[in-house]
């Protein structure tokens, strides 16, 4: 059954652990689930789902763990928005795990295609951001002129 006929019921859950300091590392977990009318679920995860650059850095370098799992065995190809070539194409199984290194200054979108039907079955974006520490300054207390 083509995944393009799936109903768009999305369940998102995630957690984010930010490691502040000089290591531009974000450990995170995010799952994105699609559910079709036969209650089949495909679970697409990027770990981490955010990459944080230090103040001096212009690109973010990380190794991602990309995981796609489904109730029924599937052959898939995973693409990133940085290339027209697939990151990987796997044989038929229920769980697919890929380690992938990135070096980018912009967000990267990862897309999972069903190899048999060549249809998009999952998509997730890795957010690339600049580390911006919370800073505080002395409040000057000038007030509103006459008041």
């Amino acid at each position: 059954m083509p995944f393009s006929t799936w109903q768009s019921s999305l369940i998102a859950k995630g957690s984010l652990i930010l490691c502040f300091g000089f290591t531009p590392v974000v450990s995170a977990q995010f799952s994105w689930q699609k559910e079709n009318k036969n209650n089949q679920i495909g679970d697409f995860q990027l770990i981490p789902h955010t990459c944080v650059m230090e103040k001096q850095q212009t690109t973010c370098t990380r190794e991602l763990t990309i995981t796609f799992s489904s109730h029924f065995p599937k052959a898939i190809c995973i693409y990133s928005s940085l290339s027209k070539q697939p990151i990987t194409c796997t044989d038929t199984r229920t769980k697919h795990v890929v380690m992938h290194s990135i070096d980018s200054s912009h967000d990267i979108t990862f897309t999972v295609f069903d190899s048999q039907s060549n249809t998009e079955i999952a998509k997730k974006t890795l957010e690339v951001t600049q580390f911006r520490p919370v800073t505080k300054r002395i409040k000057r207390q000038y007030g509103i002129g006459l008041l």
Binding site: R132, I138, K139, R140, Q141, Y142, G143, I144, L146, L147
Partner: protein, 271 residues
């Protein structure tokens, strides 16, 4: 009425004087965030000039933005040449208060935010321009108390005068209630006072006689604020400022007060 206001101020001074030291979060502001709030309620700005009505306030905006160096604090803008957790040195620009008294009815920004600038009697021939001042500010945060000094000179070629202000201010959290208190003294130069408060015979249609300030003068101010959160983004808010005018101002034949009381009370929404 005035005694009541002063009672509140003295109570605040006492509370702050005996306040237990807590972390000085109230003395700092987060950078890169616009802090904008709008208050609705009732207030009054007294105009020290005779034969004028006080100005009624129904709304009061408050805007602050600080980035790494630059800041906007309502009518004050500045650029910090140096700052650490306790000390800062700024270049600043600030609106002069004196010119506002002569131009309430023309000051569109105030009218737009709800100021009722109706005068009892118009002031024929007494025209003074609003001036903007530029200079430097130095501040030191000592045990949650901000001690600051600003020196500002006329940069609008209006009166060629200057102001020197020394201020001691403190903001303190009592539970969720934030109370602020500022005490200040401002020396206004002879040139500034002559421009605004010297009266020539040709201007004395209503006010008989002439007046020439003899020297520079010092105004003293006490400023009290309170914010009590009542809901998500909403606060009960109040502000009271009393300005004791220098003799060089209050002796002017157009001035009918020795001090000015400005206040506002209402609810505030912080965006």
């Amino acid at each position: 009425m005035i005694m009541g206001k002063m009672t509140v101020v003295f109570a605040a001074v006492t509370m702050l004087a005996f306040a237990v030291q807590t972390k000085a979060e109230a003395e700092y502001i987060t950078t890169q965030d616009w802090n904008f709030s709008l208050s609705f309620g009732y207030g009054e700005l007294q105009n020290p000039i005779g034969n004028t009505d006080n100005v009624t306030l129904y709304a009061l905006p408050n805007v602050q933005f600080y980035n790494d160096r630059f800041f906007i604090d309502n009518t004050t803008v500045g650029y910090s040449l140096f700052e650490n957790n306790h000390l800062y040195f700024d270049i600043i620009g600030q609106l002069n208060d004196d010119g506002l008294y002569f131009n309430f009815e023309d000051f569109g920004v105030l009218s737009a935010i709800g100021l009722d600038a109706a005068r009892g009697i118009d002031l024929p021939n007494i025209e003074r321009d609003i001036s903007y001042l530029g200079g430097v500010g130095l501040g030191y945060l000592w045990h949650d108390t901000l001690i600051s000094m600003t020196w500002l000179n006329d940069i609008t070629n209006t009166h060629h005068g200057d102001e020197l202000t020394v201020k001691v201010g403190r903001q303190h959290n009592f539970g969720e209630t934030q109370i602020g208190l500022n005490l200040s003294a401002t020396r206004k130069s002879h040139d500034l006072l002559r421009y605004y408060y010297q009266i020539e015979q040709s201007e004395s249609v209503i006010f008989a006689g002439t007046y020439v300030p003899e020297s520079a003068g010092i105004n003293y101010q006490i400023h009290f604020t309170i914010d009590q959160p009542i809901g998500r983004g909403w606060f009960l808010t109040g502000a009271l400022k009393r300005t004791f005018l220098s003799n060089q101002i209050s002796d002017s034949i157009i001035i009918e007060r020795h001090h000015i009381d400005n206040y506002f009370a209402g609810v505030k929404y912080a965006f």
